[in-house]
């Protein structure tokens, strides 16, 4: 079974690193990390991820804006996006759901939680 491609977007380099390590350790995922939200659409086109893990608060573009950009992109529009954020207010969550994210994970989330949510998103994509 081919590895699923996961794009993780966060402005924290350490977070990107450890998430990549944890996810790739399972051997199920090919992980690309991106610390700049400006490059998301570009990377989506080159990497063609199956799921995107997206932070909410980032320099340049926030999670919601990134979602909106992806929604307007013919590639990005079909990719399930999971928000992984330190923000866990209902309104933040609502904002995210409104722009079409499939799930919302509050930090700090463990490896298991991430994998479960990714799997769930992948299953949605295949339906």
């Amino acid at each position: 079974m081919a590895k699923k491609k996961i794009l993780v977007v966060d402005d924290e380099e350490d977070y990107l690193t450890i998430t990549k390590l944890n996810l790739e350790e399972t051997d199920n995922y090919e992980v690309m990390t991106l610390s700049s939200s400006k490059e998301v659409v570009l990377r989506v086109h080159s990497f063609m991820p199956d799921v995107i893990l997206l932070d909410m608060l980032m320099p340049a573009f926030g999670g919601v804006e990134v979602c909106e950009m992806l929604n307007n992109d013919f590639v990005g529009a079909g990719i399930p996006i999971i928000i992984v954020s330190a923000l866990d207010k209902n309104e933040d969550k609502l904002k995210a759901y409104r722009v079409g994210v499939v799930d919302y994970i509050s930090k700090p989330a463990g490896k298991d939680m991430l994998i479960a949510k990714i799997e769930k998103a992948l299953s949605l994509k295949h339906k």
Binding site: E12, D14, Y15, I18, T19, L21, N22, E25, L57, V84, A86, L87, D88, K89, N90, S106, K107, P108, A109, G110, K111, D112, L114
Partner: protein, 681 residues
């Protein structure tokens, strides 16, 4: 007439004169009479002597010319006067030897024996003289009878055997007093006439003298007095003609009149001045009276004057207008009839006493009763008049209609109450705001911090998980260390989550909820607490409670907090009471509930949830700080110190209240009160 002084004087003088003349006349007549009687007596003595001599002569000469002798003897006698001469001889002696002629003439002269006791007395030697009345020719006439004894002489011894000096007989002569009486009568008449004339003369003289000397001047003075009195003419003077007492009287009188005139003039002058003064004074008084009346009439405040017995004497127009009476209806009535019952009672029992003691009462509030029965709030002052008038020390009552003031005061009071309430509300609102602001600040801080902390926490968590996968099963200590890292990340995350609740608690999703159900849910959620096994849960849940409009999640959070606290307070077990009931707040209910930083009102219906434990309790010092954020008595790591402050905040947001009553080592009772006025039933 009898009042006239002249008549009085004349009467007195007449009486004196008459009396003295009568006495003088009587004395004259009496002297005359004695003189006349003495004459008669002398005549009788002479006659007897003559007869005696005759007899002796007769004896001596031997009865020769008896007739002549007797005539001689009788010469000196007024024969007309001698009515009878009689000789009486002692018995046993010779009879008389007078001739017949003699005998006829002097028929009883001779030869008779003593015929009565008087004659017997004379014969025995006594001389008698008596006055008798004899009826002669049918007419009673006065006589003197004189009897003298005839004593024996030596010559008698020749013919008679008698002793010398012894009475041999007696001689009695009866001499008429008719003549003497006539003389006396004549003299008396003459005297009376004379005295009458004298009397008249004296009277007339006296009268005219009096008239001239006394009466006329007196009459002049009297007339002058009369004239002065009748005509008020003080110019009249009496003419003084003499220097005697009456003249002096006239002078004095004239002076007196002059003085009187002067006095009268002065008096008249004074009277004029006085009249003017009286007029001026009356005018002033009238003006003062009118001024005073105007003042009283124009007074805005009411005035009542009552006498010392409390009867109304005077009222002013302000009172009449205020009470709608006419003055006549009030005058004479007891003053208490103006008041309502309470004031009247006060006035009778307290005020009168106070007035008598202090003389004045100031600004007492009372109530007047108008004619129509309306009650009028007044403020009155009572004083006693400083002086007694007509036997009464009057009471003055001045009162002011204070209805408007009272109304204003009432409004002011109400406003003050409202203001106080508003202030209270404002203060509680301010407290709530401060609290809210505090929570907001914490919330903002928390959400800011949360993001910054959560990110590293996420990295740490994933790192720990990664490392765990790399550890060999033999490396147990390292594995334990990784577990501790993970657990503490969760703990930190939990704290951050609670902190974040602050920033979220301002938004409520309220729905009508059943408190009992919420409590049951909350109890369900705490059942995993290990120590709960040792605790007996006693449910005293009210039936048919009205639903309350609350945010279910938040209220469950409150209940869970309280239940966990209760369970933690009873580590060794105990009773946990869970109660709900409906309550109507009144002033006897907990004042804190009503007056605290909430919107409860007395009389409001509320639903109460109580969670009570029999645990360790809370000290008074800790009770004060119990709602402060981050205050906890639990071991470090087992409590955030935010539970109660968040619960309190949630209840405040619900406009409810949360109170804690506790006694150390006895237990704690938490009373959570919910409004139902805006909640559905």
């Amino acid at each position: 007439m009898w009042n006239k002084i002249s008549v009085k004087i004349i009467i007195i003088v007449s009486v004196i004169l008459l009396l003295s003349m009568f006495l003088t006349g009587a004395h004259f007549i009496r002297s005359e009479r004695v003189m006349l009687f003495d004459d008669v007596h002398a005549k009788a003595v002479m006659l007897n002597k003559n007869i005696e001599n005759f007899l002796f002569t007769l004896v001596t000469l031997g009865v020769l010319d008896v007739e002549n002798i007797l005539q001689d003897a009788m010469k000196d006698l007024n024969k007309d006067d001698v009515y009878e001469v009689r000789i009486v001889h002692a018995p046993g002696l010779a009879e008389s030897f007078l001739d017949k002629q003699f005998k006829e003439k002097y028929r009883s002269l001779l030869g008779s024996l003593p015929q009565n006791e008087i004659e017997q007395k004379v014969i025995s030697g006594q001389t008698i003289e008596e006055r008798i009345f004899l009826n002669i020719n049918g007419k009673s006439q006065p006589f003197i009878r004189y009897g003298s004894p005839i004593r024996a002489d030596k010559s008698c011894l020749f013919c008679h055997d008698v002793k010398v000096g012894k009475p041999m007989g007696a001689f009695f002569s009866l001499i008429s007093l008719e003549k003497a009486y006539q003389i006396i009568k004549k003299r008396t008449t003459e005297n009376i006439l004379l005295f009458g004339l004298i009397f008249l003369f004296i009277l007339v003289t006296l009268y005219f003298s009096l008239r001239k000397i006394v009466l006329r001047p007196l009459i002049k003075i009297s007339d002058a007095v009369k004239h002065i009195i009748e005509r008020q003419d003080l110019f009249r003077q009496v003419q003084v003609t003499s220097a005697d007492e009456i003249g002096q009287l006239g002078t004095v009188f004239n002076k007196m009149v002059t003085d009187l005139k002067k006095s009268r003039d002065e008096l008249q002058e004074w009277a004029k001045t006085l009249e003017k003064k009286v007029y001026d004074r009356t005018k002033d008084l009238a003006e003062a009276k009118s001024y005073t009346e105007d003042i009283i009439g124009s007074m805005i405040d009411t005035l009542v004057v009552a006498d010392s017995s409390g009867k109304i004497k005077m009222v002013n127009s302000a009172l009449v207008q205020l009470l709608d009476y006419s003055p006549d209806e009030l005058i004479g009535k007891p003053i208490t009839s103006l008041f309502d019952e309470a004031t009247a009672k006060f006035f009778n029992e307290t005020a009168i006493k106070e007035i008598t003691e202090k003389l004045v009462i100031r600004n007492l509030e009372a109530t007047y009763k108008s004619k129509s029965g309306d009650k009028i709030a007044i403020s009155f002052s009572v004083s006693l008049m400083s002086e007694i008038h007509q036997g009464s020390r009057d009471i003055i009552i001045v009162s002011k209609d204070i209805r408007e003031i009272k109304h204003l005061l009432e409004m002011e009071k109400q406003k003050t109450v409202e203001l106080k309430e508003a202030y209270g509300k404002l203060q509680s609102l301010q407290d709530a705001l401060i609290q809210a602001e505090k929570f907001n600040a914490i919330g903002r801080l928390a959400s800011g911090v949360a993001h910054e902390v959560k990110n590293p926490l996420g990295i740490i968590k994933q790192s720990a998980e990664y490392l765990k996968g790399k550890l060999l099963p033999s490396e147990k200590n390292a594995s334990e260390a990784l577990r501790m890292i993970r657990d503490n990340i969760d703990r930190a995350d939990n704290i951050i989550r609670v902190l974040l609740d602050f920033s979220r608690s301002s938004k409520l999703e309220k729905n009508p909820e059943d408190l009992n159900a919420l409590l049951e849910n909350s109890l369900m959620l705490i059942k995993h607490i290990p120590t709960l096994e040792k605790i007996k849960i006693i449910r005293e849940l009210g039936k048919d409670l009205p639903k309350v409009l609350v945010d279910k999640g938040k209220i469950e959070q409150v209940f869970i907090n309280l239940l966990i606290n209760a369970v933690h307070a009873m580590p060794g077990g105990g009773d946990l009471f869970v109660r709900t009931y409906q309550l109507r707040l009144d002033k006897f209910n907990d004042v804190m509930v009503i007056s605290g930083e909430n919107n409860f009102e007395p009389g409001e219906n509320v639903v109460v949830a109580e969670i009570e434990d029999t645990g360790v309790g809370i000290s008074q010092v800790n009770l004060m700080k119990i709602f402060e954020p981050f205050f906890t008595t639990k071991d470090p790591g087992s409590g955030t110190g935010l539970g109660l402050s968040i619960s309190k905040n949630i209840m405040t947001m619900h406009k409810g209240s949360l109170e804690i009553k506790s006694q150390e080592s006895k237990g704690t009772k938490v009373i959570v009160t919910f409004k139902i006025t805006d909640g559905g039933r």
